[in-house]
């Protein structure tokens, strides 16, 4: 048996995650992923007004702040059978796309980059050489020797102060860092630039959504921001979109390619087997046909065999999770109860996580940027396919290298570019509608009689997201969501099959067990969001639960 290493807390993620790996012969041979917190939002939703559900479920996560809001409002709309107006569809798409832009920029620079970029090494860089490097890879508006010199000076002042803040006690100098000092300085400079860009990009949400985080303009039937459909608001949106998209094209993409070129070996590390994408961004009222990011499932890495997934084939397992045992169930029928105790962590043969284990057709599936890009690629997507081919060519790697940690990080950048580009057309559609006198943003609706059920399927920054609701007498009878990080970071299932991140970690090299930097690379490539991932429902036996809870 090898060495066991526990990393807890996993930082630079959302939520509380513990990763344990067993290392033998310098490589990971076994892995366990454990969610460490339980809040119970689905349980809290029981018996409440279904119109409130989007506001409640939104609070699952303040990072992917718009995603649950949208999935939930779609689930309720499906249940009450209302079709939203065209303008509402466009505005929601713009909000989703802005979320992709924002989330992926922040993920790459602030949550992931420090796994690849040695900030301390940047102090040794030659600013002139950094400027040449930057000029050779990008058309970024910031740059030049003076710029990089001032960034370096700022870093130096910071380090000399002895107060290292977020950079304290990290892995600087670790042998797995491969970038030359100049590339490190370029990336460090863009880390700071990205901090500013993200604050400005978040205004896209505020224009039609009141604020970010936690937008507040979606309601069952449409959106509330009818008074904001004005030329100055739309122009403001267009302006900030341009600035953000320019950063993506001229800074984010070139940085990812530049960094990737030093880490091509990571094109063979960190892969998984099956991929699921619900798809999202409907370009007309027709779904799934009109989804800009298409729906599909890929099994055993067989791109040619990409198929149309059915939400009915989703089940959640709890055998290895801190819930009372039960058969795997579809979300509509889920019947789960959190253990009424301080749970014990038993990775070897018992329960070890608050996350449940979702399975599609009994198989674990990776969801997220890589799954979406693979599905789009397999279906010959007009924008995604050439982007992937060109990037692989530039890096001199085969398309099969996508099944990896490197592929996951690259896919995230490429889809940001494609989705960002598509936004312009949607903004113009909105302009045309308003110009033609169509400012309809809301469709009124009536409560269904008896019991009604609805599902909202989304594909959001971190992957496939589904919300399932059942309504009775204008109240929530049952609510369940299966979220990206539950798919990706969930534990073993009833059949003892590993979750995707556990599988991906197998074979990861670990140079120094005391500084498991390489493990962080693969974990972070999934962009974990754990607060989203943990929640529970007890639809049919609500009474039993209440009695137990007391």
């Amino acid at each position: 048996m090898g060495n066991r290493i526990t990393i807890d807390p996993i930082t630079r993620i959302e939520g509380h995650l513990r990763i344990e790996v067993e290392v033998s012969g310098g490589k990971v041979v076994n892995a366990w992923s454990s969610g460490q917190m339980f809040r119970g939002i689905e349980l809290i939703l029981q018996g409440r007004d279904p119109r409130d559900a989007p506001l409640f479920t939104q609070r699952s996560c303040g990072v992917c702040t718009q995603t649950h809001y949208l999935a939930s409002v779609r689930a309720v709309e499906d249940a009450v059978r209302v079709t939203i107006p065209d303008n509402a569809r466009i505005i929601r798409n713009l909000m989703s796309a802005a979320q992709f832009q924002h989330d992926h920029i922040v993920h790459f620079y602030h949550l992931h980059a420090l796994d690849w970029v040695d900030v301390v090494s940047a102090l040794k860089a030659d600013p002139k050489a950094t400027a040449s490097l930057s000029d050779s890879v990008s058309n970024a508006s910031m740059g030049g020797a003076a710029y990089f010199k001032s960034v370096q000076q700022r870093l130096k002042t910071f380090v000399d102060s002895g107060q290292l803040g977020p950079f304290a006690n990290a892995y600087w100098g670790h042998p797995a860092y491969k970038l030359p000092p100049e590339a490190n300085l370029m990336a460090a400079a863009h880390y700071v630039e990205a901090l500013r860009i993200q604050a400005r990009a978040a205004r896209l949400h505020a224009i039609f959504g009141a604020k970010n985080p936690h937008l507040q303009s979606f309601v069952v039937g449409g959106v509330t921001c009818v008074a904001d459909l004005t030329p100055d608001r739309i122009a403001e949106f267009l302006y900030i979109w341009k600035e953000t998209q320019s950063f993506i094209e001229n800074v984010y993409i070139p940085d990812v390619v530049a960094v990737a070129s030093f880490y091509k070996d990571w094109g063979a590390i960190g892969g998984t087997t099956n991929f699921l994408a619900w798809g999202d961004l409907p370009e007309t009222g027709k779904e799934p046909e009109s989804l800009f990011m298409p729906r599909g499932v890929i099994k055993k890495r067989d791109l040619a065999g990409v198929a149309m997934p059915q939400q009915e084939k989703v089940t959640e397992h709890v055998k290895r999770s801190w819930y009372v045992d039960g058969e795997p169930k579809h979300p509509y029928k889920g019947e789960t109860k959190p253990l009424q105790e301080n749970p014990t962590y038993k990775p070897d043969d018992g329960k070890y996580s608050w996350l449940k284990a979702p399975r599609y057709d009994n198989e674990p599936c990776e969801v997220g940027p890589l799954a979406r890009v693979l599905v789009a690629y397999a279906k010959g997507h007009a924008m995604i396919k050439p982007l992937v081919d060109q990037t692989c060519q530039k890096l001199g790697i085969p398309v099969t290298a996508l099944f990896s940690t490197l592929g996951r990080t690259a896919a995230r950048a490429l889809e940001t570019l494609a989705i960002g580009k598509a936004m312009e057309g949607w903004i113009m559609q909105l302009v045309e509608n308003v110009k033609g006198g169509n400012t309809k943003t809301y469709q009124s609706w009536d409560w269904p009689k008896g019991e009604a059920m609805g599902v909202g399927l989304n594909d959001v920054a971190r992957g496939s997201l589904g919300h399932w609701i059942s309504i009775e007498n204008k109240k929530i009878k049952n609510y369940q969501y299966v979220v990206p990080s539950t798919w990706n970071l969930g534990p073993r299932c009833g059949n003892n099959k590993m979750g995707p991140v556990e599988e991906a970690l197998i074979g990861t090299p670990v140079a120094d067990p005391k500084q498991p930097l390489e493990v962080l690379r693969t974990v972070h490539s999934f962009d974990p969001c754990i607060a989203c991932g943990v929640h529970v429902i007890d639809p049919d036996s609500n009474q039993v639960y209440k009695i137990k809870a007391l």
């Binding site: 996993i10 910071f158 990290a170 604050a199 008074a227 962590y345």
Partner: protein
């Protein structure tokens, strides 16, 4: 103006922010925290030339990270200035490079080095049922972590509805027995509620502390009066429509397009204390009522139970 300050202004200008823009922001901030105009240069000083950056230890309990995200959206000062020049962010799980053992070591080293001097910012509620078993970091419950770290701080600032009052996980039936930090630990805290709060109110509180060496004046719920002294309703740009009885009764309607009052749609502005209509969010871009959505009362205690159903007239 000393050398450090000059360097600060040079840097600002390098980023396209003129000294005049910066002073305008300081004036705004000074007014927001309720100080007289005489303090404007002093506020500027806090950002321009701190001698030693005050240490901040930022804890995450049961939350969604939306409050950290909100502070990331601060535009004056931008977050990089806040983190690199104004404060010393010793521990913050969402942004720190170190993980696992290295992160734990960093936390304990910072607590030891700055005991009694650090500002502890808390985001998220604390589980109390089952000995706090529903929430853990590095094998210890939030309750244990909070008991160790919070009392050793110079001040504990609860950022957001969850750490202030328990938040969404404390809504009925509150499966984990979640509580706000003050209640769970039995300590006095400064509460900056909201879901999420406006970063300007966080920055304002910190500036007040750095400038005057003390916390701002608080209401009986621990909220700084400069931000939470008046109701949304009393500051609402749609107030005249309320007085004229001009109400929205359906979303997307002509009345909604004209920006009429949202009272009948369930707006909780009349019983919610916050400065949203004045400060607005994301660099003054908007706030919920401006986007046509009723206020949900997110800066009030237990709003998930007391203010719901949200779309029902008060």
């Amino acid at each position: 103006m000393d050398k450090e300050q000059r360097k600060f202004y040079e840097r600002l200008e390098g980023k396209g922010v003129s000294r005049r823009d910066f002073m305008r922001y300081c004036t705004f901030l000074t007014a927001t925290v309720g100080l007289s105009a005489a303090y404007v240069p002093k506020v500027a000083e806090v950002f321009a030339a701190p001698t030693q950056r005050p240490p901040v230890i930022w804890l995450h309990f049961a939350e969604c990270t939306g409050c950290s995200e909100a502070v990331l959206r601060s535009t004056y000062p931008y977050i990089d200035d806040l983190v690199l020049e104004v404060l010393s962010l010793e521990y913050h799980e969402t942004v720190m490079a170190a993980a696992g053992q290295q992160a734990e070591d960093q936390l304990h080293a910072a607590v030891k080095k700055y005991e009694g001097k650090y500002i502890c910012v808390v985001e998220g509620a604390i589980a109390t049922k089952f000995n706090g078993g529903y929430g853990k970091i590095a094998g210890r419950t939030f309750l244990e972590v909070g008991k160790e770290i919070c009392p050793k701080a110079a001040a504990v600032i609860c950022l957001g509805a969850c750490s202030s009052f328990g938040g969404i996980q404390a809504a009925k039936p509150n499966p984990g027995g979640y509580k706000g930090v003050g209640e769970a630990l039995g300590i006095k805290t400064v509460n900056i509620p909201g879901c999420p709060p406006n970063p300007v109110n966080f920055v304002g509180t910190v500036v007040n502390y750095l400038l005057l060496g003390k916390l701002p004046v608080l209401d009986n719920l621990g909220r700084p009066l400069f931000a939470y002294g008046k109701t949304i309703h009393d500051q609402c740009p749609r107030r005249s429509h309320f007085e004229n009885e001009e109400f929205v009764t359906e979303f997307g309607s002509p009345e909604a397009a004209m920006g009429y009052c949202l009272y009948k749609m369930g707006c909780r502005g009349p019983e919610t204390f916050n400065n949203c209509p004045i400060a607005k969010f994301n660099d003054g871009t908007s706030f919920p009522i401006e986007a046509g959505h009723p206020c949900i009362g997110c800066s009030e205690p237990d709003f998930w139970d007391k203010m719901t159903p949200f779309f029902k007239e008060m």
